[in-house]
């Protein structure tokens, strides 16, 4: 008896079907059966299904003699199911890699005393235009907690999209209750509500297990038809179910409201109902609404259902007008504010620049971070007469600033005033285009790391990497730089080539790395404690970078659960995704769930990456510039470069990192696992490779970078020759670490 019976109704999806079936059959979790129901599809679907059935014994195909529609096709498959759990997958959707393993693990976790009746998991919408968006209510799944519950305990669970495919159902539960799909559109509604309300034990899984394909809507493909009238029957079925279960009577007001909202939503969408039928739809909805009315007061937004269609129309128009007026008003206010700010800038630009004022910003105004932070702290120490002001994006970021840091909000009047008068501008990304450089001001660009991948002007021949990225604008902004800080001669040459602008390279080293060069062995212990990592564990920091050849930039190149498992006892795998992926769907594809289960530590949200580096014993990365900083710690680095060809071809690289690596290079996951299993990750070869890498890239990082920047640029020491003599490569760093 398999764990999962996956029932796939199939109708006119010949372009998508193979992808759907493959996503199931290629799952790492294999204990499943796939019951495909060919709903008399007129295209090639039947043949595709037969082909799969011939290849894989887990596939069973039912060819229905006539087309019965989605719901009844699912019903037709159900009697053949033998698995513990039913999974209704639509034939143009796909399972995400590892989904069934995650579901199975979560089911096991909640199987005490017996399997849950329903498990709700997360999904992402994939749009025809390429976008992927996570379910906006995903937090509900997390907030529902670790255990199981009834719908009454967490009614928010019903706010999730009421669809059949974001859940698995215990087969015995479904059979016992006799649930089945009704005919018609919106068949999900009279299935989901009864199921969710009757389930004694609901569990949740905050992981994206399914990609829900949003096929093209609107235009001539629009589904405008009277079929949407089916919604009323479907709700009648829900209410009939309530009638048959007196113990669920308390849900009636809730469902009454839900029904009203759902129908009004359908009515307001432009592409659902033919214009001529809207009145009739409204009247039927209102009748249904009256019929099932309860003693509860009617919510304000549904009161329109108590009036006539004309009043509904009028209110719709009024709402639309209100919105439009609001939008216009906002535009006017915004334009006025811009003019005021511009004037304010102009006023301050008439005053002479303040020689003792420095403005700082890092990572698009996210806080006191990176190189600018290191320069700022050093300036406060050795050039206290210079007032440093930070630019931050919003109140949220401002609240997180350390005590005693003076700041202005981006685009505020004070921002205008400060940027109009400051002499020093320190940033690791470009200042906004609205910031006009005054003669006499000094712009210091610190960069974010040593470049391996192509940057700026070198992207000219890399269409993928420069897609949606305004390089000319970037170059124009870089025209404002006076000094570019470099940590090694490689960077100096690259910035020269990538930014054909007029700036002077300052061989200062990277201020942010001072802390790494001067690191002491105990420095990471506080961070370890905060992240809940046992003191005696070996910490493997895994920090993959973005991919320019994939939309969204994220591809899971490593099965993290397996990696953590292969590392074994006494190890903690700390994962840090590229910060730009923090808010997208990337973490939902398994990372957050593994973090919750304490299989790995997800440190993507840690603001200071230096802390993570200090807390770790070894770095595993692919092509992240983090490796250049990490090399200052002189701790082992292992590269996992299984897609170097694609990466280099799509993004471009200044040198072949697999040939000049900071440590061992794994071309596949197997090699990576072997490097750790055998202990080779820290053998003599690794040390030799690292030494060569350090000599080349830690060249100017001697722990005094910030001081050098402040002394040279702000205090005017050695003013006549801005480039300091080439420092000895990281000698101090060697000593400190050697003594540890």
């Amino acid at each position: 008896m398999p764990r999962f019976s996956i029932i796939v109704p199939v109708f006119k999806v010949q372009g998508f079907l193979a992808e759907c079936l493959d996503s199931v059959l290629e799952q790492s979790y294999t204990d499943l059966e796939l019951i495909a129901v060919d709903d008399c599809s007129p295209d090639g679907c039947g043949a595709i299904l037969d082909e799969y059935a011939a290849r894989d014994p887990r596939v069973r195909v039912l060819h229905l003699p006539e087309n019965v529609g989605l719901g009844r096709a699912r019903n037709a498959g159900m009697p053949y199911a033998t698995g513990d759990f039913l999974f209704f997958l639509d034939s143009d959707d796909t399972l995400t890699p590892g989904a069934l393993r995650a579901i199975a693990d979560r089911l096991d976790e909640t199987a005490d005393p017996e399997d849950p009746d329903v498990l709700v998991f997360d999904y992402a919408r994939t749009y025809w235009w390429g976008g992927t968006r996570r379910n906006v209510l995903a937090r509900v799944l997390l907030e529902a907690g670790d255990g199981t519950f009834r719908a009454a305990e967490h009614p928010e669970i019903l706010e999730l999209l009421m669809v059949v495919w974001n859940k698995v159902y215990r087969r015995e539960f479904v059979e016992r209750e006799g649930f089945a799909f009704p005919p018609g559109y919106y068949e999900d509604t009279p299935w989901t509500f009864p199921v969710m309300l009757s389930a004694e034990r609901i569990a949740t899984l905050d992981r994206i297990c399914l990609a829900y394909r949003q096929r093209r809507q609107g235009n001539i493909l629009s589904t405008t038809s009277r079929k949407h009238f089916d919604i009323h029957d479907q709700y009648e079925r829900v209410f009939a179910f309530l009638d048959s279960r007196p113990q669920l009577a308390s849900w009636r007001p809730y469902l009454h409201r839900k029904m009203g909202e759902h129908c009004l939503d359908i009515l307001s969408k432009p592409d659902r109902l033919p214009e001529s039928d809207k009145g009739e739809f409204f009247r039927l909805t209102a009748a249904l609404f009256r019929k099932h009315r309860t003693a509860e007061p009617v919510p304000r937004e549904l009161r329109v259902l108590e009036g006539g269609f004309t009043r509904y129309r009028a209110q719709q128009q009024a709402d639309r007008l209100g919105k439009e007026l609001g939008r216009r008003g906002q535009q006017v206010r915004k334009a006025a504010a811009t003019r005021v700010k511009r004037g304010w800038s102009a006023v301050h630009e008439h005053r002479s620049p303040d020689p003792n004022l420095a403005v700082y910003s890092a990572f698009s105004h996210r806080g006191v971070l990176g190189d600018p932070a290191a320069v700022y702290h050093k300036a406060r120490e050795i050039a206290p007469h210079i007032r440093g002001v930070w630019v931050v994006r919003g109140e949220e970021e401002a609240a997180l600033l350390p005590d005693g840091v003076e700041h202005v909000l981006l685009d505020s009047l004070r921002y205008r005033q400060v940027t109009a008068r400051a002499t020093y501008f320190v940033n690791n990304v470009n200042w906004p285009g609205t910031l006009v450089k005054r003669p006499g001001s000094v712009h210091v660009h610190t960069h974010q790391g040593t470049p391996l991948k192509y940057m700026a002007a070198d992207l000219l021949n890399k269409p993928g990497a420069r897609h949606g990225f305004d390089v000319p604008q970037m170059l124009r902004r870089a025209d404002r730089w006076d000094y570019s800080l470099v940590a090694n001669r490689h960077s100096e040459l690259v910035w020269d080539r990538a930014y054909p602008c007029h700036f002077t390279s300052l061989r200062s080293g990277s201020p942010r790395n001072d802390v790494l060069v001067r690191a002491r062995p105990k420095d990471g212990s506080a961070v370890r404690a905060r992240l809940g990592i046992p003191a005696d564990h070996r910490v493997v920091l895994y920090a993959p970078t973005r991919r320019d050849y994939a939309r969204g930039g994220h591809i899971d190149r490593i099965d993290l659960a397996r990696f953590a498992d292969d590392l074994g006892e006494g190890h903690t795998l700390v994962v840090r995704l590229h910060p730009s992926l923090a808010d997208g769907p990337a973490r939902g594809m398994g990372l957050s769930e593994l973090h919750r289960r304490k299989v790995v530590v997800d440190a993507t949200d840690e603001p200071h990456v230096e802390d993570l580096m200090l807390a770790s014993d070894v770095l595993v990365t692919d092509y992240s510039a983090l490796m250049f900083d990490y090399a200052n710690l002189d701790r082992p680095i292992v590269l996992h470069t299984d897609d170097w060809g694609a990466y280099a071809a799509s993004r471009g690289a200044y040198f072949d990192i697999t040939a000049d690596a900071p440590g061992h290079v794994a071309g596949s996951y197997r090699e990576l696992a072997w490097l750790f299993a055998s202990g080779a990750w820290r053998d003599e070869d690794a040390a030799r490779l690292r030494a060569g890498f350090r000599a080349r890239f830690c060249e100017f990082d001697d722990g005094r970078a910030a001081e050098r920047v402040v002394r040279t640029l702000m205090l005017g020491e050695k003013a006549e020759e801005p480039a300091p003599a080439v420092p000895v490569p990281a000698q101090a760093g060697h000593d400190v670490l050697a003594s540890s």
């Binding site: 295209d43 025809w128 890399k462 993928g464 949606g468 001669r489 040459l493 080539r497 602008c501 939309r551």
Partner: protein
């Protein structure tokens, strides 16, 4: 003594120097020395050059302090050079691959100077351009930058030619060289890619240094006065030098305002002192400027300059009316009724009479002669059209008229976005290949190609115009449904362009081979690589010369690059490579070839119809798959043997496995899957169904694969 000395000044371009040096060191012609001229051994460029010198003995850096400027740097390099010919390459420019070979082939023993073509590349904004080399080689002179010519070293030494100091050294140098040259020649091939400075050349910046252009002109004119120069040369040179001077004088910013009069005065003195006897000023505004300079009339010159600038500005503001007129015209014609007997065809955005539309067009003339057909083409393609094809140039009034009125619109790509679908009109999308790589909206998750696709919403509005979409196998039908979601009807009729593979005779094959120049008795291999979206520009993935060498005399290679690259000649010197990229018809080329080598080009699906050997050369399959996206794994179900390296590929031919039973078996499976509907009657089916309106059941069914008889290959004829 090496053939070439390449002298590379490096001041201020350390970041790009590695690329410049690589472009020289990777030349296939290897007999040269490379002399980077660096500020000092420990300067940024000095370190780069030293690293190269350690690796390659042909690199010999020299040093020249930055205070001497560009001229001193070049002179230092020249003093160190020992090559027969000197080339000056700026440290941020590149030699084009094959440039030295091309120069070597063109140079005669007595050529003093060989001027060559170059490409001006903008950093980011703007298009590249190739200045024409249309002047008499003897007097290209001051127009040619020093890096755009090869100079015979003995000639330079004999005339003691060095770069004059100061700014604008190229102008002085060019003038002096022109005076000394007796035998100059021109090579039109592009040899150097010159990267324009993003913020403009420093020479063009306003400032006092602009006066130095007069110093350069003066030194050239003085030298000219010391020697006897033919009248033609001295007139041309004088004209060129003063065109340069007047450009500076007339420029709104270069010379500081308070110094303009002084500049003009000094230029006038030079002009009067050195004007050759019988010199006639050029016609037009420049001639007027010459005359004003000759009489020293600065106020008049200033007035003229002001007028010219105002006029230029005004001219820019005048709207270009042509677009508006055609739009209005189109709108007018849209109001007239549809012409039931008019069909408009277009293939590959107007590249000519080709592909499925051409095949349908030809069949329609037989079966539906009452329908008038107009083929839309780009202006460049008109000349190559076969005789008797009624055509209209895209964008012309006639093209908009027929687009507005035709009932049938047949294309293998898409008509312009402005074309509307009229009720009653019939749009046929014929496609132009079986999809292996991702197409349409399926490209949206692959930024590498999505970048080139543009708006996907616009793509779908174009798809919404389609009534019929042609397919040559079930796989295509399924994938088009994903890639181009729409409400069209899929016509599983096969590709009309492939009909010829079943109708061509042995004579036809022989004729095509003769026309393409395939030598009698040789096996012709068609090499047709596809385009790589992950980088722009053509990258040779296979050294064809070496490949030919390896596989022996029995073979010749027909090279057909992707249609994005049908310019230039890549014929090579051995005569065993025949470049057929520019040939109008892919089908002809396929008929002529005895076997096909391709990577992932969809030509493999068409060629499979001929049932001749196919070899897949997949040196970057993983990269292609990940960055471009594919619909199936061609490595798992290839049409023939797969080679992953050039050595593998050569072995497939030397050992004969390209045509062994394994190869045949792979091909048979491939044909079953992808030659499904291509049976030689596709065009007929399309014409009868679409143009003649016959019902689907009346259309002839597809002939089973086993019963089809492909056109015979030439090599089988040779053997029989």
């Amino acid at each position: 003594m090496p053939r070439f000395s390449v002298i590379v000044p490096t001041h201020g371009v350390a970041g790009r120097l590695a690329q410049a040096l690589d472009s020289v060191l990777t030349q296939s012609f290897g007999d040269f020395e490379l002399i980077p001229v660096c500020d000092a051994p420990d300067s940024p460029a000095g370190t780069v050059a030293a690293a190269y010198a350690a690796r390659d003995s042909r690199v010999a850096p020299v040093h020249s302090p930055p205070s001497g400027g560009l001229s001193a740097a070049r002179n230092t390099g020249m003093a160190a050079a020992s090559g027969t010919y000197l080339l000056f390459l700026d440290g941020d420019d590149d030699l084009v691959p094959g440039a030295l070979g091309a120069l070597d082939a063109e140079l005669r023993a007595d050529t003093d100077v060989l001027y060559f073509g170059h490409e001006r590349v903008h950093w980011w904004e703007g298009e590249s351009s190739r200045p024409p080399l249309d002047k008499d080689p003897e007097i290209i002179g001051v127009y040619a930058p020093a890096w755009s010519a090869a100079y015979r070293r003995a000639f330079l030494t004999e005339h003691r030619l060095t770069f004059p100091g100061g700014h604008f050294t190229d102008a002085g140098w060019g003038g002096l060289v022109t005076l000394a040259t007796e035998r100059a020649a021109v090579l039109h091939t592009v040899c150097v890619r010159h990267h324009l400075r993003r913020q403009g050349r420093r020479l063009n910046a306003p400032g006092e240094h602009q006066f130095e252009v007069l110093d350069q002109v003066e030194s050239v004119l003085t030298r000219a006065a010391e020697q006897t120069v033919s009248a033609a040369k001295s007139h041309a040179l004088f004209g060129q030098l003063f065109a340069l001077v007047l450009k500076t004088a007339a420029h709104p910013t270069r010379v500081p305002a308070r110094r303009r009069r002084a500049f003009f005065r000094r230029a006038g003195r030079l002009y009067r002192r050195h004007r050759p006897a019988g010199f006639r000023p050029p016609p037009g505004s420049l001639g007027v400027q010459h005359r004003l300079l000759a009489i020293g009339a600065y106020s008049a010159f200033r007035a003229l300059r002001g007028t010219n600038q105002t006029a230029a500005k005004a001219a820019q503001r005048v709207p270009r009316p042509r677009m508006l007129r055609t739009r209005a015209l189109y709108a007018t014609h849209l109001r007239r009724p549809l012409d039931e007997n008019l069909a408009v065809y277009c293939a590959y955005w107007g590249r000519g009479y080709a592909c499925n539309p051409a095949a349908i067009h030809a069949k329609a003339r037989d079966l539906a002669p009452h329908i008038r057909s107009v083929f839309l083409v780009e202006p460049e393609a008109v000349a190559a059209l076969p005789k008797g094809i009624d055509h209209a140039v895209i964008g012309s009034r006639r093209s908009w008229e027929v687009l507005a009125r035709a009932k049938y619109l047949i294309n293998n790509a898409n008509f312009a976005d402005d074309v509307v679908k009229r009720p009653g009109s019939v749009h046929v999308q014929t496609q132009h290949g079986t999809p292996l790589k991702k197409m349409g909206v399926d490209q949206s998750t692959y930024p590498v190609v999505a970048a080139a696709t543009g708006s996907f919403s616009k793509l779908l509005t174009r798809v919404d115009r389609w009534d019929y979409n042609l397919s040559s196998n079930r796989h295509s039908t399924r994938m088009w449904e994903r890639a181009f979601p729409g409400t069209y009807e899929a016509l599983e009729y096969g590709y009309p362009r492939n009909d010829v593979y079943y109708t061509a005779t042995a004579d036809d094959v022989a004729r095509v081979r003769a026309r393409l120049g395939v030598p009698e008795g040789r096996t012709a291999l068609l090499y047709a690589p596809t385009h790589r979206d992950y980088s722009t520009g053509f990258e040779a993935r296979l050294d064809l010369e070496a490949f030919c060498e390896e596989i022996g005399e029995d073979f010749v290679v027909l090279l057909r690059a992707h249609y994005f690259y049908d310019e230039g000649d890549r014929r090579g010197s051995s005569g065993r490579i025949i470049d057929v990229t520019g040939h109008r018809s892919s089908e002809d080329v396929c008929l002529a070839a005895d076997a096909l080598i391709t990577d992932y080009s969809s030509i493999m699906f068409d060629y499979a119809n001929l049932d001749r050997p196919i070899v897949v050369y997949a040196d970057d399959w993983e990269i292609y798959r990940e960055t471009r996206g594919v619909y199936f794994d061609v490595m798992e179900a290839p049409p023939g043997p797969v080679a992953r390296t050039p050595q593998d590929l050569a072995r497939v031919f030397t050992e004969g496995s390209y045509a062994d039973p394994t190869s045949t078996a792979l091909r048979a499976r491939f044909r079953e899957r992808f030659c499904q509907f291509d049976d030689g009657r596709a065009a007929e089916r399309v014409v009868r169904r679409v143009l003649l309106g016959e019902p689907p059941e009346a259309i002839p069914p597809v002939v089973p694969l086993a019963e089809r008889l492909p056109a015979p290959a030439a090599s089988t004829l040779v053997r029989s």
